[in-house]
């Protein structure tokens, strides 16, 4: 929005007139109704549950409704260790979510494999197969950290453009909304990472948020 329009808007609001743009209104609505998927993997999920309860009250951010079906969810919080045996199911759940969809990788395991990184059975970070929007370190992260990640996500949703070069993935017909589900191989998952997504370079158009 041009600067003079912004000034006009401020001037009008001083006189009791509320103005907005379609983009602002749309993003305002979206960022305050991000419904996460009812989905937890390990101890981080316990912190996620605590975040939704009365003391931390994630409902303040419009995310009180955890949806039991990926078809109704906007956000998947990968909360905990992703084992190689579970990874295909996590990717499949992400694929089943409708656009626009977001991913928070919660905790050391989800972002990198954590203390199990050198083991035989743990995926070295879920960003190898699905595009992660916000990473939270911690083992497990406290509810405040999850709320911070959620607020970061909201801020990024608010800044999304609806038109133009930088419009997000869900508004571009040429970009996929589903990603390859890894297969069980003889020694590990095949492929070990999705080359379109990993390493997660900034500016990759497949990432919903930059």
């Amino acid at each position: 929005m041009a600067d003079d329009l912004k000034e006009l808007k401020i001037e009008l609001s001083k006189n009791g007139i509320f103005t907005t743009t379609l983009e602002e209104l749309y993003n305002w609505g979206r960022k305050n109704s991000v419904w996460p998927l009812t989905f937890g993997l390990a101890c981080c999920a316990i912190e996620m549950i605590a975040t939704t309860m009365a003391r931390y009250d994630l409902a303040r951010f419009g995310a009180e409704v955890f949806r039991p079906s990926p078809r109704q969810a906007d956000l998947i919080i990968v909360s905990g260790t992703v084992t190689k045996k579970m990874a295909p199911q996590v990717v499949r759940l992400y694929n089943q979510m409708p656009e626009p969809k977001y991913v928070i990788a919660m905790g050391a395991c989800a972002i990198s494999g954590g203390p199990f990184r050198d083991g035989y059975n743990v995926l070295k970070g879920i960003d190898r197969y699905i595009p992660v929007d916000v990473h939270i370190p911690g083992c497990p992260p406290r509810p405040e950290a999850l709320i911070h990640a959620f607020m970061t996500l909201q801020k990024k949703i608010e800044e999304q453009a609806l038109a133009g070069e930088n419009r997000p993935r869900h508004l571009r017909a040429d970009l996929p909304s589903e990603f390859e589900v890894p297969e069980f191989g003889e020694h590990g998952l095949e492929p070990p990472a999705n080359p379109e997504l990993f390493p997660a370079l900034p500016g990759n158009p497949l990432k919903v948020l930059q």
Binding site: Y120, N121, F184, H187, G188, L189, P192, A193, P195, P199
Partner: protein
């Protein structure tokens, strides 16, 4: 531990009760002194049934099955040999290396719910680590062995002959390795970290 479950005592009972069986006591030097009994594979099933049904022992519950991987080892010993050097007989020291083949081991911890005593620890060893990794399954004797023998099969590659449903339990079907073996190396899952932030 009561005298009844003394390792030597149990060994004597087994060898008297199961003709032809051979039991070796493997001492445990720690303060707990939980010595274990190494069974011969041929009679292991009969010995297990005997221990379960023995009226005084009544080891009716197997609480734990696990595997152990013992790698091939090499022992070196110094021996004195006589050599004839320039027509003079001299004594020289030589080092002799002996290869000891490794094996896989299954360990069973037995308790008695009825008599409220235990544990009695059984061991069985495979012939080697590569080709002959069969051991008799004790699942027909103790039902609780079923999943734990599957786990030992999954992670160590011990093939339990007579197991009713011997499949991998933690890793997926089609996985080729045995991750808890000492010579296992996990895949690098390498992805070149290219000029990420160049």
């Amino acid at each position: 531990m009561s005298d009844l479950l003394n390792a030597e005592e149990v060994k004597a009972q087994i060898e008297a009760g199961v003709p032809g069986s051979h039991v070796t006591v493997i001492p445990n030097g720690s303060p707990s002194g939980q010595h274990s009994l190494l069974l011969d594979n041929e009679h292991a099933f009969a010995v297990a049934s005997f221990l379960r049904d023995h009226p005084a022992l009544r080891l009716d519950y197997c609480s734990l099955v696990t595997g152990v991987d013992w790698l091939d080892t090499e022992t070196t010993e110094k021996i004195r040999v006589k050599k004839v050097v320039d027509g003079v007989e001299t004594e020289a020291e030589e080092t002799r290396k002996t290869k000891v083949p490794g094996y896989l081991e299954a360990v069973y911890h037995l308790f008695s719910i009825e008599k409220k005593h235990g544990p009695v620890i059984l061991r069985m060893r495979t012939a080697n680590r590569t080709g002959q990794t069969q051991l008799p399954s004790l699942t027909p004797v103790w039902r609780s062995c079923e999943f734990q023998e599957r786990e030992a099969f999954d992670l160590y590659g011990i093939v339990f002959v007579g197991h009713p449903d011997l499949r991998r339990i933690l890793m997926w079907d089609g996985f080729a390795d045995f991750p808890m073996r000492k010579d296992y190396h996990p895949p690098a899952d390498g992805v070149p970290v290219a000029e990420v932030h160049a």
